[in-house]
């Protein structure tokens, strides 16, 4: 099935993906990811039993998350939460 995932980090030749709303960790080969994938890139992955069958970078989801998070961070920086 196709799921949303985000690259949390790279460790050597491995990539740690956080999959779905539950952010479940799946360790993938870095070589199996598109070259444009970076830490923080959102992906559309086809995954079965934690095995990734295909991966596409989802620029739109990446930008949406970046914007949403940036807004939250700015509110913290301005101290509006206190």
């Amino acid at each position: 099935m196709i799921k949303k995932a985000v690259i949390d980090r790279f460790e050597g030749d491995k990539a740690i993906l956080l999959v779905g709303d539950e952010q479940r960790q799946v360790v993938a080969s870095r070589a199996s990811l598109p070259r444009t994938a970076k830490e923080g890139s959102w992906l559309a992955v086809t995954i079965e039993d934690d095995v990734i069958l295909s991966v596409n970078v989802d620029e739109d989801e990446t930008n949406k998350a970046r914007q949403r998070i940036s807004d939250k961070l700015e509110r913290l920086r301005r101290g509006e939460h206190i």
Partner: protein, 457 residues
């Protein structure tokens, strides 16, 4: 804090030993880790005490002046989480491991009901995942980050947690200081948290409690280490939290040569997917003579210090690297400095057995026996040291602005008892913080230097 419960003021040599051991089974104190585990049925913990020259924390010395700082390297599997409890009872957490990896439970088991400070070194899930749960469970006064965001839901939940906790939110960079009770965390890195490499921008912190110094590397890589060195930052530390779980991309030889850690602790999960710690890193740590502990093999590792000596309490096992005896033999022996007040305290025979033999008579000795701390800006501070009679002694006090030019900080000659002391005024504009004092004594062609810290607040 358990180690404080039976603390009394004691005389001389016994003081530094006993302070670290009060609250423990005395038989643990003086036996090998292996033997101690058999002699204390209620715990599997083993303990080792490392002694550095005893220095009274302030003048006059009292029991509270030499209370303990404890730093807990929590076993959270593959990730980092460190709890700091200061002598004045403040508490801080550096990173929280992955979500549900046990950091919160550990805090609760230590009776932590609120946190004065939470530091997220960088926003990877193995460092901030567990902070979400902490922020949602315990009141947190302040959260410090490097300001670099990422796009994961884990990070978003972290921001939501800071928001819900109504914690003060602060971003730091090199040169900043983070107050924690009477202590100060110095920020060595990053300079500018931008770019693709989140590890590189980890918040790197140095914490000194009198003569005992900790260095917390987060996941900072070798490039960050090189940048810290080239900036001329002080990095020497007794206890090093090894960068990036002991990976080969951190802990460069040039950096370790400057840190000169006596103890190195990495945090990693047993049989993790990444091969942490890497063999190269373990070899590099061994090459600088560090005793190496890891949360994968030793479980949670607690370091307890009174500012002059420290005790290692791994949950299980023993460190890699040079045995404790070899490390201790290179350390100066405890001097006989009586604190200003003494009360009769029954020192057990086993504790007396830890008393080291008298120091080598040939070498010039120097011990800082007292320093005023904390001091308010505008007030007077004094420092007293003991060395050989007639030794020529100088002192340097380093504030944020540079060396102090206060009158009174002149070269002096130790009296017939070997005592030398200085009194100086701390300027009214002195930046609050923990500042380094270096004392040098020279006699008959020998020179010895000792340093300590005092707090301006």
């Amino acid at each position: 804090m358990v180690l404080r419960k039976s603390m009394g003021t004691l005389t001389g040599i016994a003081l530094a030993c006993v302070l670290l051991l009060s609250g423990c089974n005395a038989s643990q104190a003086v036996t090998s880790p292996q033997a101690s585990s058999t002699s204390s049925p209620d715990t599997s913990q083993s303990s080792q005490t490392h002694s550095q020259p005893y220095t009274a924390a302030s003048s006059p010395a009292t029991a509270s002046d030499v209370a303990n700082l404890s730093v807990h390297f929590i076993d959270v599997g593959q990730g980092d989480s460190i709890l700091i409890i200061t002598p004045d009872g403040k508490s801080a957490v550096i990173d929280g491991g992955e979500a549900s990896s046990g950091a919160l439970q550990y805090l609760q088991s230590k009776g932590i009901k609120r946190l004065d400070l939470v530091v997220a070194t960088h926003p990877h899930s193995d460092h901030i995942g567990g902070l979400v749960q902490i922020l949602n469970s315990i009141p947190v006064a302040k959260v410090v980050t490097n300001g670099q965001p990422t796009t994961t839901l884990t990070y978003e939940h972290f921001l939501d947690g800071v928001t819900a906790a109504k914690a003060k939110y602060v971003e730091v960079k090199r040169g900043d200081t983070i107050p924690l009770g009477n202590l100060t965390l110095d920020v060595l890195s990053p300079v500018n948290a931008t770019g693709d490499d989140l590890n590189h921008n980890s918040v790197v912190l140095r914490l000194s409690y009198f003569q005992v110094t900790f260095l917390f590397m987060g996941d900072a890589d070798a490039a960050a280490e090189a940048d810290i060195l080239s900036a001329g930052m002080a990095v020497k530390a007794d206890i090093l939290k090894v960068g990036h779980h002991g990976s080969r991309y951190s802990s460069g030889p040039a950096f370790l040569a400057q840190v000169k850690p006596k103890v190195a602790i990495y945090s990693a999960g047993l049989s993790n997917d990444y091969g942490h710690p890497h063999a190269e890193t373990l070899a590099a740590l061994a090459a600088v003579g560090a005793q190496v502990y890891g949360t994968d093999t030793n479980g949670t590792v607690v370091v307890t210090t009174n500012g002059s000596s420290y005790q290692m309490s791994p949950l299980k096992g023993q460190p890699r690297g040079p045995p404790a005896a070899a490390t201790s033999s290179t350390l100066p022996l405890l001097p006989t400095v009586p604190p200003a007040t003494t009360t009769a305290t029954p020192a057990t025979p086993s504790l007396t057995a830890t008393t080291p033999p008298s120091s080598t008579p040939a070498a010039l000795s120097l011990e800082i026996t007292s320093v005023t701390s904390p001091v308010r800006p505008g007030a007077n501070a004094t420092l007293t040291a003991k060395t050989a009679p007639g030794a020529s002694c100088s002192i340097k006090v380093y504030y944020k602005s540079g060396p102090s030019t206060a009158q009174g900080l002149t070269t002096k000659t130790a009296d017939s008892s070997g005592i030398v002391s200085w009194a100086w005024k701390v300027g009214t504009n002195t930046t609050p913080g923990s500042w380094r004092i270096v004392v040098t004594a020279s006699k008959d062609g020998q020179t010895i230097t000792k340093e300590t810290y005092f707090t301006v607040s």
